[in-house]
Symmetry: C2
Subunit: 157 residues, 2 copies
């Protein structure tokens, strides 16, 4: 049945980031709509941002194209050049390899949602613009490193 | 600039279908949003259906996954099992190779829109469920045939 019953799609919460970054993702959840519909060739996820929530650390993908359309509420897209307020129907495209990192912040008082589509490259790498962190994704496993390639152990405070 | 200014995206109209099918696509147009944003790995198009318009002939893809989210108004998804009314936020997924053809019809009095994502396989093949028509897509060229493989010349009436 290709119509997706969103009420039956598990709400994914939490983050695979190492600390102290995982804690910064509170208030973000997502529905893996494409997976729920049996798709394998790309990801199609609806991201739900509570007021104040971030979609991710600001990042860019080395090999994967990414496309976003805001579907509910409003959120702010942050890139190198600053902030853009985005509302339902507004779209952005992030071509693979463009080192202009992005993420979304819900600065409103209401829930915001966007649909995000991403290719599924294996292996893939993402770089986080504002912190000393990168991730390599291979065969379903994520390995976080510092930008010099050394393993990430978490910040010692 | 990854934010897409929809007002500057060309509105694509018309159909590559042979007659008598091309004429049946009047009232359908689309915005190639992913292309406008520099993406190459998948297509992300907003399809605009005037009242009464069809999105396509009812079809299924042999190698490409497809994902749809309705973004404005309402339209009817038609599949083997019948019709499903879909409204903004409603989604459907069409895995590659599933021979349950689909299309959308705007049976309302207002414009409807949906976002459609599709992989970009080369070559690709699509089969039209309700008519004696298939298409092979290779290196940007579409070749329409009857289902027995003979070239399509259009219906002689």
């Amino acid at each position: 049945m290709p119509v997706i019953d969103k009420s039956k799609v598990p709400v994914k919460t939490g983050s695979i980031y190492p600390e102290p970054y995982a804690s910064q993702m509170a208030g973000r959840s997502s529905l893996r709509l494409g997976d729920a519909g049996g798709l394998t060739q790309f990801g199609a996820n609806e991201v739900i941002l509570a007021p104040g929530a971030l979609s991710s650390l600001r990042h860019w993908h080395h090999r994967e194209d990414e496309f976003v359309m805001v579907t509910q509420g409003e959120c702010v897209l942050v890139q190198d050049e600053g902030e853009t307020l985005m509302r339902p129907g507004d779209c952005a495209a992030f071509p693979a390899g463009d080192p202009n990192g992005h993420h979304f912040i819900n600065k409103s008082a209401a829930e915001a949602r966007f649909l995000v589509i991403g290719s599924r490259m294996n292996p893939e790498k993402a770089t986080y613009s504002d912190v000393d962190l990168e991730v390599e994704l291979k065969d379903g496993k994520a390995t976080f490193t510092h930008k010099d390639g050394t393993p990430y152990q978490g910040d010692r405070t």
